[in-house]
Symmetry: C2
Subunit: 375 residues, 2 copies
């Protein structure tokens, strides 16, 4: 199989990740942070090491980094936990349903309002495009770092500066960038990340950073193993955001994934962009193929269609006849497809990862060419 | 090590569980329900098989069983997702902070009120003890099936009958009973379960059942891989409650755990109770030991203290000198300790599991005897 669906989850997982999960299941099977016996303390120690690794990845304090179920879990926590009745939110047309659906739910409950920024003439979301939508009650700006549909990268530095100047909380959805771009705690007030994409951890792992001065209610509330005698959720971190038994095998696996990529993000980014550029150039040379992502790639995500053929048909043929894994349809991001004009046929997304080679890309280009010719 | 901390998490995990997680990481690494290629379809198929297994465990429809991060995740979903401003809740003094803290948070926000039932003279929570607290606006009754502090079992059948007669939603916290007691969908409107305790799955797995006619808002909202073109969370199940990438390795591991226990719950329950009774009888024979759980055990959980010595000291000595793992303190259930009169010293909890033997229990009794003599 040629796997070009890394935006859904990275594949294959490094051996170190698989071994770490196995090690945890066999040797760290007690509940961390609950009991005082050696087995529980060993699990707590391992959890703490994983937290320090995650904090190092983000240049963050260990108190401000939380383990979550997935990126959606982190985004729901950010949105439901921060917003108050009457708030206004600015987000973008590139957002995933993990941002749009919580906002739409709150809007339908008459709690908040929100607007979606369109990109400027260069196809990017900037502080200017955000500012045009600003209201007096704008409390939060949420943007995805890299679009999971067309791979466009947003100007986070400029947007965060704008938000800081205007007292607006800036939340970064790093679903596609974590592990493929250098992320730092000083890039946003809140950063939400999956563990199983660019960070190469197992499915069932996610990370969240919340700046110390930002007050977000936790999504889950309950036992933390701390202040057991109190009916109040602890206000100190990380306990405030981590209730219930931790997903230790997934977390230990994620730690191994982070260690694989940490410090190499720029190299990974360059490599993935080089392959994505090769794919884009190849696809653009095929008659009938329409590349919908930028000509000069900004990430490893490439979106295309073949004439007006349903994207699912193309993705199906790539899988059936060439064993090439891509994802068709709307990629849980309907407004991005509306903006790109692909609401009728969706798009074929090829997303490269750390394990892909130029050979994979050439095979994919040849396969699309053959399909474009025969269909 | 003699592991008597199964109420925190079961140990060791069966080989079949470890192998299932490994298999998933190596062979089912694509994202289920997202793409149409063979690898994603294989992952979707595996997820569906796991759901069917979980549904079979509960004699439930596959649409009504949801995979969660842990039991706390499920309970937060039930409490935050069901209750409306003005509602009243009846729960019990035996509850875990995973129930009490969400309720207390809502109470402090002036959204709800709640009362905690005390057990009757026989030490049990019954419909009568619940009814005494009923108000016109009582919308929900939440009880734990088996106390994680002292192992008392509640009369679920009687309570659910009472709730049905009075139009109150009955939520069962099966944290300690899942895998050790037969659970059926017709036992409650909502059942919340950890995957990693009696069901023998990995930490990072949980299950939730919601009856078809009970309307609970999801805790997480976002991408489901379904109705991608819509900004509204799907209302159909199970998608409504499962947003973001599934924790597939944990779920596949949980499935293997469920298969180990399913159909054997009564046998497991008998065995654990026999060992817990042996432990109780042994501890009661030691001078200075005060057993706080019922003389005639109702589950595998036994709570005790040695004179007025801090429970953490006893648990520490059991670990240090005898390599016996127990849990001291308050077990995230402060009101239970208040009721038992152990708020000053906490309690030592020994919780037996499927892997314990009579030899383990005899060694534990001898160890407590030695500590009681020397301290």
């Amino acid at each position: 199989m040629i796997y070009l669906d890394n935006s859904a989850t990275s594949y294959p997982k490094p051996q170190s990740v698989i071994r770490a999960v196995e090690f945890c299941l066999k040797n760290l099977s007690a509940n961390p942070g609950r009991s005082g016996h050696k087995a529980s303390l060993a699990a707590s120690h391992a959890l703490e090491q994983a937290r320090l690794t995650a904090a190092e990845l983000l240049s963050a304090n260990r108190d401000d980094v939380f383990f979550m179920l997935n990126c959606t879990d982190a985004l729901s926590c950010a949105i439901f936990g921060l917003l108050k009745p009457g708030d206004h939110v600015i987000t973008t047309v590139f957002e995933h349903n993990s941002v749009l659906r919580p906002l739409e739910m709150l809007r339908k409950q008459d709690k908040i309002t929100f607007d979606c920024a369109l990109p400027g003439p260069d196809g990017r979301i900037t502080a200017g495009t955000i500012d045009a939508l600003r209201r007096k009650n704008t409390a939060m700006v949420i943007v995805n770092h890299i679009s999971n549909v067309c791979g466009v990268k947003c100007e986070t530095e400029e947007i965060y500066g704008y938000c800081m100047q205007n007292g607006i909380v800036f939340c970064l959805d790093a679903a596609q960038s974590a592990g493929c771009e250098t992320l730092r705690a000083d890039m946003a007030d809140i950063i939400c990340m999956p563990g199983h994409k660019g960070l190469l951890g197992p499915m069932g792992s996610g990370l969240m950073y919340i700046a110390p001065d930002v007050n977000v209610l936790p999504l889950r509330v309950g036992g933390t193993g701390s202040q057991s005698e109190s009916l109040d959720q602890p206000v100190f971190r990380p306990d405030r955001y981590e209730s219930g038994t931790q997903a230790l095998p997934a977390i230990i696996g994620l730690e191994a994934g982070i260690k694989t990529v940490m410090g190499h993000e720029e190299e990974i980014c360059r490599r993935e962009k080089r392959l994505a550029q090769l794919l884009t150039d190849g696809l653009e040379s095929i008659k009938g193929v329409n590349v919908l992502s930028p000509h000069k790639v900004q990430s490893g995500v490439v979106l295309f269609n073949v004439r007006d053929i349903d994207s699912r048909r193309i993705s199906y043929l790539l899988d059936r006849d060439f064993d090439i894994a891509t994802r068709a349809g709307y990629h849980c991001a309907p407004l991005a497809h509306k903006y790109l004009g692909t609401m009728s046929q969706g798009g074929v997304r090829a997303s490269v990862g750390y394990a892909n080679s130029a050979e994979d890309i050439c095979a994919a280009v040849a396969a699309v060419e053959a399909i474009a010719r025969s269909e």
